[in-house]
């Protein structure tokens, strides 16, 4: 038989369990709501034309966003080509070669850069790339995205490299390997799945950024040749189509949103798969 104090303790216990469970449910349900909305509205708008045709003039129904898909890919490619090597090597330096004060400062600055609003990054890229070139381009858009990718990659690379136990480094050094050989042939391979995961997640993150592209790549209703012209991208297309007064354009925006979030979800799943494979294959 329980006395009143014990009864009260159990009551509080159950109440908190219910409350925390409810909050978790609320959080998760937001994600499902967003996904559900996109799947419902985007699903009924998605067709083959979306992937193959160009956008039509306002007022005309139909067309697609093929140029935006390709444009996004071009700029993600440029951003990855610049951002991944710089971020990766920066992370290697911070983890393996740093002393005391210098790495601390670099880390601090990387975190600050991470926190800079994306639109400010866009303005910076506009000043540094668009103005001297005198036109908008995929180069500028890719450059702006790279600036966002670098601090993310530096920090995640550093974090996964640090997780490699020191005993492995000592083992390699004791065999006559130099510092760099140890890093390249033991430390990096040991943390590869984590480092790759960090890169994939970083790329997925910048794929959806809109503000940095607004005044660097601008937008384009048509195909862009190479990387030197204003280029369409999915996030910017969503922006311009969603605020327009045409129903068909709204439909296209939903479809674009669904494609974008599917890309992000697939990357996340791939990243987790790689990470899980990497840690169990010991």
């Amino acid at each position: 038989m329980m006395d009143s104090r014990t009864r009260r303790r159990y009551a509080i216990n159950n109440f908190m369990l219910g409350l925390t469970g409810l909050c978790t449910l609320f959080t998760v349900s937001i994600l499902f709501l967003i996904l559900g909305y996109l799947v419902y509205n985007g699903g009924k708008s998605l067709d083959w034309d979306f992937f193959t045709k160009l956008p039509l003039s306002p007022g005309e129904n139909g067309g697609g966003m093929a140029n935006a898909i390709v444009g996004s890919m071009k700029m993600i490619f440029v951003a990855t080509a610049i951002g991944v090597p710089v971020g990766f090597l920066g992370g290697v330096y911070l983890s393996e070669f740093g002393g005391r004060t210098f790495p601390y400062l670099i880390r601090y600055m990387a975190d600050l850069l991470n926190g800079v609003p994306s639109i400010v990054i866009g303005i910076f890229a506009w000043t540094v790339v668009v103005v001297p070139m005198r036109h908008f381009s995929a180069w500028a858009g890719g450059f702006a995205l790279a600036l966002m990718l670098i601090p993310i990659t530096v920090r995640s690379t550093e974090q996964f490299l640090r997780a490699v136990p020191n005993s492995l480094r000592e083992g390699a050094l004791a065999l006559g390997a130099s510092k760099w050989e140890t890093v390249a042939s033991v430390v990096v391979p040991a943390s590869l799945s984590g480092v790759l995961t960090g890169i994939i997640l970083g790329v997925a993150r910048i794929a959806g950024e809109t503000a940095p592209l607004l005044f660097t790549a601008l937008n384009n209703q048509f195909w862009s040749n190479g990387l030197n012209e204003p280029t369409a991208s999915l996030p910017v297309m969503i922006f311009t189509h969603a605020i327009a007064p045409y129903d068909d354009w709204h439909r296209q925006a939903w479809a674009a949103g669904l494609v974008l979030i599917t890309m992000v979800l697939l990357s996340n799943i791939a990243a987790r798969f790689i990470l899980a494979r990497g840690t169990t294959r010991r």
Partner: protein, 260 residues
């Protein structure tokens, strides 16, 4: 088969393999070693014993300069390898000639073959890698147990096997000296016995210095033993003398178990 503690029939080398004089070691402001001077005989097993924290591991790790990788660590004095100052040698070359096996097995997350082949590859050793790998595994008494699974991950081996793998990996670069830092402390008695036998079998190809907190182990395998206490080398003599007729009272107190 060579017997520990008894002078071998092989010619006695007059130049000690390793010689330290007036060696002091500091971690920042803390002095870990005071005026260590000793000589390690070639092709013999030298054991370093003493209670926890006495500096024997610190001393060992200076011999191949792996202590240089620790921030705030510095040492003074002279350490000679074959009469050459180790500060003047290229450090990666020094570490190839003076190998090390650590307290806990630390195989790389690679296959057994790639673990053994790592040293030769990184040092640009020419020759048939498969042969080198087999020879090293045979020397470490591990070949029969792993010859069918060389491509499997090193982590699939048991603790004792992983430690023998680490010994094989160190032997693959043909070191002149092998330093072992309490190599059996994480292992069961059977694995320990296998490793002790293996050390005795390779000592005529390789000078061995082993740090151990297990006095019986030192008595079993070592030709010469050094007793460390609080960063000082109290006594350094033939194993028989240390254990049967020690000169210093502190040595006698330690080996009879009065402390430590």
């Amino acid at each position: 088969m060579a017997t520990p503690g008894v002078a071998s029939a092989s010619p006695v080398h007059t130049t000690p393999k390793l010689k330290t004089s007036g060696m002091y070691f500091y971690y920042g402001a803390f002095q870990a070693l005071h005026d260590i001077s000793l000589e390690v005989e070639t092709q013999r097993i030298t054991a370093l014993i003493g209670p926890s924290g006495c500096g024997k591991s610190t001393f060992l790790r200076t011999l191949n300069r792996i202590s240089d990788t620790v921030k705030n660590a510095r040492w003074e004095g002279q350490i000679l390898l074959d009469n050459q100052d180790i500060r003047e040698l290229d450090v990666t070359n020094l570490r190839r000639r003076v190998g090390m096996v650590f307290q806990r097995p630390n195989p790389f997350p690679k296959s057994i073959f790639d673990n053994i082949a790592y040293g030769p590859r990184v040092n640009g050793v020419k020759g048939n890698l498969s042969e080198i790998v087999e020879k090293s595994l045979r020397r470490a008494a591990l070949w029969d147990e792993v010859k069918d699974k060389l491509q499997k991950s090193a982590y699939a081996l048991s603790g004792g096997q992983q430690q023998r793998l680490c010994i094989a990996r160190a032997l693959a670069v043909d070191p002149e000296v092998l330093l072992l830092d309490e190599p059996c402390s994480a292992l069961d008695p059977i694995a320990t016995a296998k490793i002790e036998d293996l050390l005795i079998s390779i000592k005529d190809q390789c000078t061995i210095v082993i740090v151990t907190h297990n006095m019986q182990q030192a008595a079993r395998v070592a030709d010469t033993t050094g007793f460390f206490l609080l960063g000082k080398l109290i006594e350094f003599a033939k194993t028989d003398i240390i254990f049967k007729n020690p000169e210093k009272k502190q040595t006698e107190d330690y080996i009879t178990g009065r402390f430590g």
